[in-house]
Each structure stands twice: as C-alpha cells, then as structure tokens.
C-alpha cells in the first residue's frame, strides 16, 4: 500500500525457525525452517489454511512458546525464550474473537488500565485521561471506559481490543484474524482503522489470515505458508497478479470472484460511507 513508509532495516527477523510438538506417540512438525524479515512500518500478511503453521509462528513471535530451533530477532537483538517486560510490551496481539478476548466481568477501562499499570505508562492520574484518549483513537467515545463488554457490539469490542494492544505502545502488532469474527461492513471499518493507526503510529503489522480479500486491502507483502513451510513470499500486487506457487494459485482461486466493474463500484460506495 505505502511502500515509502517502510524502513529498510528489519524490525523483525526470523532465521530458520522450526517448531516441533511432541504428542504421546509421535512428533508433529508444525513449522519447518522459516526465515523471513519484516521492515518497520510494513504490513506483512501471513496466509495459509488451518494447520499451515501461521498461528504457531505468531505464538512464537509473542513468546507464548519458544522455537524448537532457529532464532527470532527484534531490532537485531535475539528474542529470548523468557521475555522481559519491555520485550513483551514491544510485540502485542489482537485476537480473532472479541467476545472472549475481553473479560466479561471487568470494565473496558479496567482492561485498558491493566496494560498501563503493568508497563508503568504515565502517572496515576494521567492514566485515566490516557484511557479516554486511547478509546477516542480507535473511534469510541471516552465514556465507554465504564462499560462492560456485554454492552458493546462485536465491532466496538474489537476496537477496544485494538486500543488495549495500543495501550502498551508496541512496535509490532500481531493481528490474528482480527476481522474474521465480524460482519462485512464492520470488517471494512476495522480494517480502515487498522490502516490509519499503522501510518499514524508507524506500527509494524504481522497480519495472520486466511482471507485473501482482506490481504489485498491492507498488506504490503504476503508470505504464504503451507504445511509448515514458507512456500512463497512477494509483494501483494505481485502475489495476486503472478502467483508463482501452485498452492498460492489455489488459495487465490478460492476467493469469491468480483469483476473489475463491481470492484470499482464498491470503492465508490466505501468512500461515500466513510465520508457520511
């Protein structure tokens, strides 16, 4: 989308990262020697069907478990198996399902405040204002801080989840299918919000998805995973126009077809909506 914003220096690098899970009877190779880099300010989409290893990769980025072999680097520094608080803060997550990602028994404000408290961001009084500011940044009124998640719609909850991730002031956001639990109109608005935030805050996105339509809207580059292997990596335009790999072609072939005329019409409608 905006290649000029992308810094040359990789903010994130994976070198020969593999992950093997042990079950009672045999080993399952979830990820096989994946190497990739993500530049600052870039949105890298990781696509693949379920079981392709994309979630395993995301979990290792987040430090939920370490790679079996290989290394991950943040700003050129090796990411250790046990993450310190500043390293946790640097890589944050937006989950797929906003119904379960917010605690039903804590207010929106309390959920956001946790991030500020844990990382000691701002002074005690300043945190309340900051929470309001975060909510406004994701397009919600500041007084939503006193509400419980049950009083919010799916799209609003996902905006709160995004605000919570932003509260940590991360460098990298891992977006794990952030729009697939939302209906189509809400999906488009949340994607637009994510795109704005990326440019405003110079964030780096690792966007995990199986929805190639979404990829086209937001990603700069695409990495295609198939059964634990990185099978293709290229710019978004290139992937869609000249997919080199057979698996990539079959994924693209599975997108519901929209003709160019329909696509043009859709853009006009979107602009109208966002204007009004």
């Amino acid at each position: 989308m905006n290649d000029a914003a992308a810094d040359i220096r990789p903010v994130l690098e994976a070198r020969n990262v593999s992950k093997v899970f042990m079950t009672a009877t045999h080993e399952v190779k979830a990820l096989n020697a994946v190497s990739l880099t993500v530049s600052r300010g870039e949105c890298l989409a990781i696509v693949g069907e379920s079981g392709s290893g994309k979630t395993t990769f995301a979990n290792m980025l987040l430090g939920i478990y370490p790679p079996s072999t290989g290394e991950l680097f943040l700003d050129g520094d090796l990411l250790p198996a046990r993450r310190t608080l500043p390293l946790r803060r640097a890589i944050q997550l937006v989950q797929q399902n906003p119904l379960s990602s917010l605690n039903p028994r804590r207010t929106v404000g309390a959920s956001l405040r946790l991030a500020l408290d844990v990382h000691d961001i701002g002074d005690r009084e300043g945190r309340k204002t900051r929470i309001g500011g975060l909510l406004e940044e994701v397009g919600l009124p500041a007084d939503f801080a006193d509400r419980y998640p049950s009083a919010l719609s799916g799209g609003q909850r996902q905006r709160v989840a995004i605000a919570r991730a932003l509260a940590c002031e991360p460098e990298i956001l891992v977006l794990d299918e952030p729009t697939s639990a939302l209906d189509v109109l809400v999906q488009a608005r949340v994607l637009q919000l994510l795109d704005e935030l990326r440019h405003r805050r110079n964030l780096t996105y690792v966007f995990i998805t199986h929805d190639l339509g979404v990829v086209r809207n937001i990603a700069d580059r695409v990495s295609v995973f198939e059964r634990g292997n990185l099978v293709e990596q290229a710019g978004t335009e290139e992937i869609f126009e000249r997919p080199a790999n057979a698996y990539t072609r079959s994924l693209i072939g599975a997108i519901p077809i929209i003709t160019d005329d329909e696509e043009a019409l859709r853009k006009k409608v979107m602009e109208k909506n966002s204007a009004g």
Binding site: S100, R105, V118, C168
Partner: protein, 277 residues
Amino acid sequence: MRRIFYILLSNPLSVIGLVLVGTVVFSAVFADFIAPFPSHRGAVVDFSNFNQPPHWPNIFGTDLVGRDVFSRILYAYRISLILGVVVLAIAVPIGVTVGLAAGYLGGWTEFCLMRLTDVFLSIPPLVLAMSVMGLLEPTLTNGMLAVTTMWWPWYARLVYNVTRSEAQEGYVLAAEIIGASRLHVMFREILPNCVPSIVTKMTLDLGFVILIASSLSFLGLGVQAPTPDLGSMVAEGGNYLPDSWWLTVFPSLAILIAVFGFNLLGDAFRQVLGSDQ
C-alpha cells in the same frame, strides 16, 4: 442486580426459599427480641413447668428442665448460622486459592494440590469430622475446625474446574501477552468469573453445613450443653419419643426449614447467575 431480584421473585420456588431463609436469618439475628424467654438459652431450671406439650406461652412446649423449646430453637439458629458463616469464611478462601492455583498454574502444582484435595474428598465427611472431633475437645470452635477441614476440598474442586475452562478464554491470553503477573491473572481476571459458581455453592452449603453440624452434635460431638443446638436437641428428645414428641419434632422441623430454604435459594441463584453469561 435489580434484574436478579426480579427473576428471583418471578419463580415461586425461589420466593419460598427467600422467605424461609429470611425467616431463619431474622430469627437468629433478632432472637433476643423474639424469644419469649431469652434466659432459657442457658442453664435455667424451672421444675414447675417441665416436659409440657405446646401451650401458651410455651408454643413449642418445654423441655425436661422446663426451658422454652421455641426460645432455644431461635438461639440454636443463631449458633448454627454463626458456625455456617465462619466455616465458609475459612473454607471458601482456602478452597478457592487451591483451585485457582491448581487450575491455572498446572504441572506439579496442579498434581500436588489436586491429589491432596482428592485425599480429603475420599474420606466420608462425617467420619473425617468425627475423627477430628475425637482427637480434640468437643467444643464449638473445634466443631467449626472439623467442618472446615472437610469443606474446603469441595471449593477447590469447583474452582479448579471453572478455572480450567476459563483459562482457555482469550482474555487470559490477552492479560498474559500484556505481561500481567500470574497473581493478577488468577485473582483479578479468572476469579471474578468464578464468583457466580462460588456464590451459588455457598448458598447451598449454608444449609448443608447446618445439617452436618447438627449431625455432629446429634452424635454428641458438637456444641455442648447448655448452649442450645438443633442436633443435640433432637438427640436428647429422641429418648422420649413418642410421648414427648415436641422435644424432637420442632427442632427437626427447624433443621428442615433451614436446609430446605438454603437449597431452594441456592437453586434459584444457580439459574439466575447461570443465565447471566
């Protein structure tokens, strides 16, 4: 909160439960004002009026030393409720902490804590309480201790199961990714989601604790004379059945009302708080 009250009042069974529990609690708290003979809670003797069937002013009759059965039941309720509340106030925090730690931390912590819980659960409750009471002096404090020893594992088991399923929820992962401490995740994130189950069980258990405490004192291992206790009143009166039936029937009914009331209310809570999520 108002909604919960509304749902409670729309179900006839929970209304009955509320009324029964309300009566029991009211009698216990205001025993001093309701009881026609407040002094009969202690060692009072009135041989001019002993072993009398129900009549005015002794509406539940009098016992073998001439004390008013009705007054003694009111004070027995007070003892039973204090015992129930104290037992739960000790057993619930212990059980909840054990359950949360085992369910969330997993691994060896889970193995050790839950096997310990299983050991306690495998001993029949009354036998466990009796052996504790046998080792110690049969007093009210030791009675509470005995019942507490057998009660916390049930909360450990309950909270463990809820925690195991809550730990799979996204909000736990979210807190972990943010970098929250384990204590925060356990007590501030997961615990609030266990509260409905805990409250429901506590309401049900108040009835059962009263029943167990009565059983213990029925066996002579609980509250000692002259302090009034429902279980020992039943045990004592049982020797004079069927002639002096009021000595047994009224305290038994009192136990029944308390247990029944707390059960109905607990069931009502289960429905209301269950549908809350």
